[in-house]
């Protein structure tokens, strides 16, 4: 039966993530942004908790947890500092390209050396629909340009498109850029000059699964950002008085605050639905794409309104809401952005003859005919 209980284990994971975020990320978020770096202590704490290898198979030293666990951790971390969240995760969504397309062997080969978080990260580059990277693949090398990656350095690039994944470990240079958001993770444009392909893992279905999980990863972060912006601005609205009452009690803002809470919950539920599908072995490409679009739309509804509720103060960098707005915008450009996700989300519907799959439907559900 329908059940939204996440269970004791995931409650503990959530509490741990929240504590880590409060201790290590929130107090220094502006510092992370301006220095584009995290302290060694923060990195060590992250590694010791085991967040980096949460979804890794136990055979490779991971915790073997699923998409829902990752979603919950990412929401907590990104609520505090999305850029730092990316910076801390040695593989990030590149994990999915490696395991889905190349299996455990690929993860062992390319992921294991980075697991301690001491070196630069493995960075996923989306080369499929909607990407703005211009890459030319030769037989054993790739050349071209990537306009933006949220990184200042990369141990390797994992190039993912609809047909599979390729790994390159050298032959590319990163040129630092200012970055619209997520600066704690860095920002660079990348040039590849006949970069040798270290490994190729063809496979359309695997690539689609990898993209789906990557989209869910991004969606989880967007939910965290939206939640933080909604919570922060709500607290502010109770404090700030205009025309004789807290601004939260002017109905225009009271309704807006209610709608922002609804927006955040909507995005989270869409994400949990997708994560459940993923973890329970149902096809989840459509659900993950849908969760990503929902999260992107709701975050782009919530975060500018978060600024609005603070008025001029929201525009100033003394408060985090302007950062939330920028980071939501930057983050939702990944994986070809919402338009590419829309195509994935709808394609199944166009091909199928059956009724609309909302969540779970009976096999013979259907319309009048």
């Amino acid at each position: 039966m329908i059940d939204f209980e996440i269970g004791d284990e995931l409650e503990l994971v959530r509490a741990t993530a929240r504590e880590f975020a409060d201790d290590h990320l929130r107090p220094t978020l502006r510092q992370h942004e301006s220095t584009r770096a995290l302290s060694d202590a923060t990195r060590a704490a992250f590694r010791d908790i085991g967040f980096a290898t949460l979804e890794w198979p136990e055979s490779l030293g991971g915790s073997g947890l699923g998409g829902l666990a990752r979603f919950i951790v990412l929401e907590e971390l990104a609520a505090a500092d999305p850029g730092a969240t990316l910076a801390l995760d040695p593989l990030g969504p590149a994990l999915y390209a490696l395991v889905e397309c190349g299996g455990e062997a690929a993860l062992e080969r390319f992921g294991t050396p980075l697991a301690d978080g001491e070196t630069a990260r493995s960075v996923l580059v989306w080369c499929g629909e909607g990407c703005r990277a211009k890459l030319e693949f030769g037989d054993d090398a790739v050349s071209g340009a990537i306009p933006w990656l949220p990184a200042d350095a990369a141990a390797q690039l994992v190039l993912l498109d609809a047909d599979g994944a390729h790994v390159v470990s050298e032959g590319f240079t990163l040129e630092p850029a200012r970055g619209a958001g997520l600066r704690a993770a860095g920002a660079a444009s990348v040039t590849l000059d006949r970069a040798p392909i270290a490994a190729s893992y063809p496979g359309g279905e695997a690539a689609a699964r990898a993209a789906a999980r990557g989209r869910l990863y991004t969606a989880a972060m967007l939910v965290g950002i939206a939640r933080e912006s909604a919570d922060y601005s709500r607290a502010y609205a109770l404090d700030r008085v205009t025309f004789g009452k807290p601004i939260a009690h002017h109905q225009a803002l009271a309704f807006l605050i209610a709608d922002m809470a609804t927006a955040t919950d909507s995005a989270r539920l869409a994400g949990w639905d997708a994560a459940w599908r993923l973890d329970s072995g149902h096809g989840a490409e459509e659900a993950c794409a849908t969760a990503f679009i929902e999260a992107a739309e709701q975050a782009m509804y919530v975060t500018p309104n978060g600024v609005q509720i603070l008025g001029g103060h929201g525009f100033m960098q003394d408060h985090p809401v302007e950062k939330m707005m920028r980071e939501a915008r930057a983050l939702s450009l990944l994986f070809g952005g919402v338009d590419a996700a829309r195509n994935t989300a709808i394609s199944e519907l166009i091909e199928s003859d059956g009724p609309v799959q909302l969540t779970w439907e009976a096999p013979d559900a259907g319309r009048t005919g």
């Binding site: 039966m1 109905q251 919950d265 869409a270 459940w276 973890d279």
Partner: protein
């Protein structure tokens, strides 16, 4: 975490689907065409009784411990375990509304008056008003009348007055839009002992049909949902026996009266939201089928909008289910219930409206199911608390919005 119906609920939903396709939708379309509610003596209602519908949820047990409270028995294999849960009710309501929400409300049964009677009623009142619904020999209805010409959202402003006169109460006032009121065995009417007291003055009465002074029944003409009657009526020196006052005097002394009414809204809001999801799903299925037939899916604009509607319907359903799941575990769900109710009707309207756009002039002819759904669905953002009221309810919790 699980987003799946259990076997028992799934079977019930499938049963509704068969009934829906064969009976409910055709009846709804017919009522819409004729512009009048399904008559109470329609054979469809008899059929429903035969298949076990039109009954009360009250078990007939006076011992509250024996009430089949909502349970979550997902770990237990017994099929009946989840039948009474809010989630199961939601799934059934959604499916029924998929086929026709107007017909769904027309179904015999105690209706919205049932929760207050179960919750507040004395043993004797349950006997009198609900016992006949345990195994009804003929279709029977109950009705719920809160709204008045001058008081809808502002429930505290109702002006129907009640005055104690010996061992009777005398009621005077007018009620609006009460579902199934003219055919009901009884109507649960909210009145006030003193208009200046606001909510504390509220009293609920169960007034039996035929009581002198109860009359002027007027079945409203509506934009949609024509299959059931929304009826306005008056009470003029309407004398009812003292024990028609729902609950006991001490019940109201504890100021539980208004709370009693509002508490039942907390459980019905996700239900109404789920009905909207069902209607939105129906519109979406029809719109998609039309788009396929007419080769419209090559158009990115069309595709994007279909994607949006499907996504928003899914989110609306998840919001409903979460509110119901909380209710099943006796956890607070005021905010969550209102969220579902604030979201689902708007999404469903958007689905029907998009459907109309895809139909184009075909929709403008006024003969397509989507066109009917477009009219039907608007009510969902009005009944059981308008969208604005849902936001007020949420804001009271989220930012302590003063009354």
């Amino acid at each position: 975490m699980r987003v799946e119906l259990d076997e028992a609920t799934r079977r019930r939903v499938e049963g509704i689907r068969m009934l829906g396709r064969a009976q409910v939708r055709p009846l709804g379309l017919e009522a819409d065409r004729l512009g009048r509610p399904i008559p109470p003596d329609h054979e469809f209602f008899e059929l429903l009784l035969k298949i076990g519908q039109g009954r009360t949820r009250w078990s007939g047990e006076q011992d509250p411990a024996a009430e089949p409270a909502a349970r979550d028995e997902s770990d237990r294999p017994e099929l009946k375990a989840t039948i009474g849960t809010s989630r199961a009710l939601l799934a059934v309501a959604e499916e029924l509304s998929y086929w026709d929400r107007g017909v769904a409300v027309s179904l015999p049964g105690p209706g919205l008056g049932e929760p207050p009677i179960i919750g507040m009623g004395t043993p004797d009142q349950k006997e009198r008003f609900l016992r006949p619904f345990i195994d009804p020999g003929k279709p029977r209805w109950g009705s719920f009348a809160m709204t008045e010409p001058g008081a809808g959202s502002d429930v505290a402003a109702i002006r129907t007055v009640c005055r104690k006169d010996g061992d009777h109460w005398v009621l005077n006032g007018a009620k609006s839009f009460a579902a199934n009121a003219s055919r009901a065995d009884w109507i649960l009417v909210w009145a006030t002992i003193d208009r200046n007291l606001g909510r504390e003055g509220h009293r609920a009465f169960v007034i039996e049909q035929g009581t002198p002074g109860l009359g002027d029944f007027h079945v409203e003409k509506k934009m949609g949902l024509k299959a059931y009657e929304s009826t306005s009526f008056t009470m003029r020196d309407c004398r009812v026996p003292a024990d028609s006052l729902l609950g006991s005097d001490e019940h109201y002394a504890r100021k539980a009266g208004f709370k009693g009414a509002m508490k039942s809204f907390n459980s019905t809001r996700p239900l109404v939201a789920a009905m909207a999801v069902g209607m939105g799903r129906a519109a979406f299925d029809e719109a998609l089928a039309f788009a396929k037939e007419q080769d419209l899916l090559g158009d990115v604009r069309v595709r994007d909008r279909l994607e949006r509607i499907r996504r928003r319907l899914r989110v609306a359903r998840l919001l409903c289910w979460r509110a119901a799941w909380l209710a099943d575990h006796s956890r607070p769900n005021i905010v969550e219930a209102s969220m579902s109710k604030a979201v689902a009707p708007a999404v469903a309207l958007e689905a029907a409206s998009l459907g109309m756009e895809l139909l184009g002039e075909v929709g403008a002819r006024g003969e397509h199911l989507i066109e009917k759904l477009f009219r039907d669905v608007k009510a969902m953002d009005i009944v059981e608390g308008t969208g604005q009221i849902q936001r007020i309810v949420m804001a009271r919790q989220l930012v302590q919005l003063p009354r």
